[in-house]
């Protein structure tokens, strides 16, 4: 039998990740791109449509509405998560007792399955018997039509995201802060810097790279938000909470527009790639500087 050379063996082994890459990433990705050029509804046959789907997409008012909603959702949710998350991390750094209890409590929303969180919040936000309105009524605020009116529904979904993911920002920021040398704080303290200023000007810049990574993860997560919102509002009322992924899902799985769905997905892939590239460059630069 002919002996297989070491080189061919290595080449053969190198095929395995290639097969994985092809089968699980490139093939589906290429299919999405391929079918995005076809007019293809379920049950029918794919008919080549050129850039027709793309023209349809870019002239679809619902698409722009969805894009705007998704971006607003992402900016509001991530902004609030950073504000509260870093604020809580500041408090965590400064409390001397009960830190482990606080972190255990903070972890709770994180460990909940997003789909389940969505269902629970749907019940909590119920205008009739929900907890949220009940507690608001206790402090004299009239009940809101949370998931019934478009704006309120949008705000509800942001609240849920902030509720679930602020602890993530807090815990990672806090973990980053605890790795910093204590001398940094002390030297600033001796020089007369206030605690807040020390935190803002000295500690936060030191974990800049980490903050970029958190931002990166949160922006990607919020742009592709699906499960929590889908179980909570189903994208409604109307299209008030139809974010990108839901818009995509509805077209594909509810209206069975395979071709058009693929066009949305293709656009979404490009959008996400741009965001990922920009943010990862920022994070990389910050990492290098630190």
């Amino acid at each position: 039998m002919k002996k297989i050379s070491f080189r061919s063996k290595t080449l053969f082994l190198a095929l395995i990740p290639m097969i994985y890459l092809y089968g699980l990433v490139i093939y589906p990705f290429a299919s999405v791109i391929y079918y995005s050029f076809f007019s293809y509804d379920i049950g029918g046959t794919p008919v080549f449509n050129g850039v027709g789907n793309y023209i349809q997409l870019f002239t679809d008012p619902q698409f722009y509405r969805t894009l705007g909603l998704t971006l607003s959702y992402s900016i509001l949710a991530v902004g609030a998560e950073f504000l509260f998350g870093i604020g809580l991390a500041y408090l965590l750094v400064h409390i001397s007792r009960g830190r482990s209890v606080a972190t255990s409590i903070l972890i709770l929303p994180l460990v909940m399955t997003p789909a389940v969180a969505g269902i629970i919040w749907r019940i909590m936000f119920d205008a009739g018997f929900g907890h949220v309105n009940f507690y608001l009524s206790l402090i004299g605020i009239p009940g809101q039509k949370w998931l019934i009116r478009p704006t309120e529904a949008f705000i509800s979904t942001v609240i849920v995201d902030v509720w679930q993911w602020t602890p993530f920002v807090t815990l990672v920021t806090f973990a980053g802060l605890t790795t910093l040398p204590v001398e940094l704080v002390e030297s600033a303290y001796i020089d007369g810097a206030s605690e807040f200023r020390t935190f803002k000007d000295i500690l936060l810049p030191r974990i800049r790279a980490l903050l970029y990574i958190i931002l990166f993860l949160r922006v990607i997560d919020t742009l592709k938000i699906f499960d929590t919102v889908y179980t909570m509002t189903g994208g409604g009322p109307g299209t008030a909470t139809t974010y990108m992924s839901i818009f995509n899902y509805l077209n594909l799985m509810t209206f069975y527009h395979i071709g058009y769905g693929c066009t949305i997905a293709a656009f979404f892939i490009v959008l996400m790639n741009v965001v990922v590239t920009v943010l990862s460059k920022k994070a990389g630069a910050a990492l290098f500087a630190a």
């Binding site: 040398p181 001398e183 002390e186 030297s187 303290y189 001796i190």
Partner: protein, 360 residues
């Protein structure tokens, strides 16, 4: 520019006392070294004086003014840390200027003062660089510049040379001494290294396990160590301490330690036959000692350590183990014989029971 007094200071972490009724004084306009082994409480003492740490009891006075409850920022002190504590994302200029920025010193004055201090420390042309682009010695200079730019009453140094390598440490020592002599001010310098104290300081406070073992001018403490700990620790290499007993020989009292004999007739203290004493011999006073009254003996080499351009030879003699400091490179093999000796007037004699110095 300030005299420091510490009275009955107590500090504990959990149930462990670092200081329990600790008192000491730091002279105005002096360079005082706090010398002690790791864990002695040096850093904690500096942090208490700086106001970073709050004492559990006792008082701290600056020029007679009680500052115990005054926060660090109002004490007008500066501190240089072992780890340098520089901001990696800021340039050298901004690092040095940071205390002035906090105090809202005008830009022009900041620039002038930073330049002045940086030039004095020889880092004037590095102001546009980032700390990571500097060597360890340069980074330490930046840290020192940041402490000096404040014109603080008191500057604390927490083992500033520990993170530097041997050669840089030596050159930094002489340079620091020059700068501080020119600059004046009260400097408190914590270090585990007796060489730092010997080469730079005017006063030394030897502390061990939160206790002040001895305080005084460097030469006094070096020449008259109050006890075996100070003798052992404030010496490089550490002092040889040999057990011995008082015997009577030809009518006179003599300390006999491993057959090395030292006459005790000039001791004023009440020593009687049979007392247990400790003979302290500095490693640097054993090699090539000549004179009529020198106690000479031949040791067997155990190991030879070459450190830089010096050698420490460990020998044994009659069951005693001694280190011998030779100010040059001198290689001997284990088993070789080495004739050494000491002048009785160089020998330190301590009481074994409490370690206190009887005579030197």
């Amino acid at each position: 520019m300030v005299e420091v007094r510490v009275e009955n200071l107590c500090k504990r972490f959990g149930s462990r006392y670092i200081f329990n009724n600790f008192s000491m004084r730091i002279e105005n306009e002096s360079f005082t070294t706090i010398l002690g082994p790791p864990g002695a409480g040096k850093t904690t003492l500096l942090r208490l004086l700086a106001g970073v740490e709050i004492p559990d009891g006792g008082k701290i006075y600056f020029d007679g003014r009680d500052v115990t409850d005054i926060p660090a920022k109002d004490r007008n002190v500066a501190m240089v840390f072992q780890s340098f504590a520089l901001h990696p994302t800021r340039k050298v200029f901004d690092n040095i200027a940071s205390p002035l920025k906090i105090k809202n010193v005008p830009k022009e004055e900041t620039r002038r003062r930073v330049k002045e201090v940086a030039d004095m420390l020889g880092i004037g042309d590095l102001l546009d660089r980032y700390p990571r682009e500097l060597s360890g010695g340069q980074q330490q200079r930046v840290a020192i510049a940041r402490a000096m730019v404040k014109k603080a009453n008191l500057i604390f140094f927490d083992e500033p040379l520990t993170n530097l390598d041997y050669k840089i440490r030596e050159s930094m020592r002489s340079e620091l001494k020059k700068i501080f002599t020119a600059q004046g001010g009260t400097i408190v310098y914590a270090t585990p290294d007796p060489t730092d104290a010997l080469s730079m300081a005017k006063y030394v406070a030897v502390i061990n396990q939160g206790k002040l073992e001895q305080y005084g001018p460097v030469d006094d403490v070096y020449n008259y160590p109050a006890n075996t700990f100070v003798g052992y620790y404030f010496s490089f290499p550490p002092m040889n301490l040999l057990d011995g007993k008082v015997v009577r020989e030809k009518g006179a009292l003599v300390l006999n330690s491993h057959d090395l004999k030292v006459d005790l007739s000039d001791c004023k203290e009440g020593i009687k036959e049979g007392d247990e004493l400790i003979l302290g011999l500095r490693p640097s006073q054993l090699f090539k000692v000549d004179g009529d009254d020198v106690v000479k003996f031949e040791g067997e080499v155990i190991i030879t350590e070459v450190i830089g351009s010096e050698t420490i030879i460990h020998v044994q003699y009659n069951g005693a183990r001694l280190a011998v400091h030779v100010p040059m490179i001198y290689r001997l093999l284990p088993g070789d014989k080495l004739t050494i000796g000491f002048r009785p007037c160089d020998a330190f004699i301590f009481r074994k029971a409490d370690g206190s110095l009887i005579r030197r």
